[in-house]
Amino acid sequence: MSSTEQGTSSAAPAEPTTAPESAAAPEVPESFYYVHGKDKVVHKVSAGALQHSALIHGMISNLGYTEEQAKANPFPFENIDGDILQMVVDWCNQHKGKPTPPEDTNLPKQKEKLFDLVLAVNYLEIKELLTYCCKQVAMMVKGKSPEEIREIWMIPTDAEDEAAEKEAKKRAGKEAAGETAAAAGDAK
């Protein structure tokens, strides 16, 4: 698998981005794993930081990689944009081994970024960060009118919902007809 690191192409992640280490280093050498997003930039993350993600934690537990194997096989998250994955990695590093605070003020303010972060965090199963993100999303509509809420969350009107439903039914009908025709062709 080819991977890029901070925009530099390389066959293997020679010097992946490392997160700032905490001052108090653990006595036992910490193991590191590697993840990359859609942009193929590989991030080196400690196992401690990755514990926040139930998904990655489960993968690590099942694989039992050595450091070398982990380096050679970064976990691919092709459905997550590189900058979003960077945010997630930063958050996991910042909160490694620490109790999570009641709120997090460092979440992105732009709604599209926040939306992508929510989806990524939900996929990676990082419960605390997801809670913060959902709070932030909910805060966006505090004190807003119905029309403003519709605009912020891009809620379709009833007419748009009905049109989309009709379209989906039409598409499903066409697909079913196509499958039937293909099956008839196979039979011949």
Partner: protein, 375 residues
Amino acid sequence: MKLHRMPLVVQRMIIEELGFNERLFLSFTSKQFCSLLGLFRNDLKVSIEIDIKTSEVSIRVRKPLYSLTEGISAINIRSSISNELKFDIPYEQYYVYGSTACRIDGSTVQISEYPSTICCVSIDERVGCDTTSNSMIIFGKVLRHLNRFLNIQESRQCEYFETLPVGLFRRLDCSYSYGKIETRTGCIANTNPEDLTFLLDNMKAKQLILNVAVPSAPGYKYQKNPEKKSCIDFLKIVNYSWVDFSDLPAARGMYIRIEIQLEQMKTILESWVAGRNREMEIGFFRIDKLTDLNHKALISGIKTQDTQLTGVEITSFLVSTIDLHKMRFPSSTIAVDIVRKSDGMRATVIEGDKRNMFVMVWSESNLRMIGRATD
């Protein structure tokens, strides 16, 4: 940000972070979101109260716990009571300056803002202007809309302060269990057989207090639907022109506040013995002052027995129920028992001060109330 594209689990987490007002406004955005809110309504417990007044119908939605004051900047609602939000639906439909249009159950409604109040006025083309029936349509729609996404645990009361708009009873949501439905018009309010039948046959209420007449149908007597099980705990009737005494409206407790004739009281008792009026477990009635002669007339033809209640039990019954009828505690009582022919059920008829009649059927709950074991 497309919230409708989020996974359901995420939508749920976001909705759970929303306050009451945000959920309300979100419910106005689309049918789909209203349904989505309905899925997660269990954590949003509210009670409602309905007031029918001279110029409008009001629905008050109250949360049991809420911050003392909460401002809603977008629509300039600031509630000083703050644990409630009121929907006013005026009878006279008009254009509300500065309002926003919202879809509620298929109708376009102008929503305008007053302190702690949302004024709902229809601008739907199908609905004309200036008619009470239109406002009744909106009333029903708002009520149904609220029921879709709120966890309405208690409908405390529904009071009618003025004339009863035609069709109003039928707009009430039968899925609620009302604490109290009361007509407080100050005088007898006019209604029609359809509305009255709907109310008595379908509504669930701890107390239903009616002072109504049915002038559109002279001689009309309400006939209960035998297939509908009564869900009225206590029915207080003031004007009884529409009451059939041989087949009383179904309610566990019955109080007719205005004096009834001796013959009417006799009909109630005869019918009970014959197996009708069987929903009544407690009855309070006022009659003309009884003389010895008409006391005999009251029970003539009805097989009576010496009462099996003790004096203490009679007192206990009268004391326990005084809040319901608020009649003066009688200084002297005469009690006899009557027995229903079909199942042997016993009832004690207590005459107090020769003008108040109390009926206590020996149901389990009544026997428990007077302290008698029911094993």
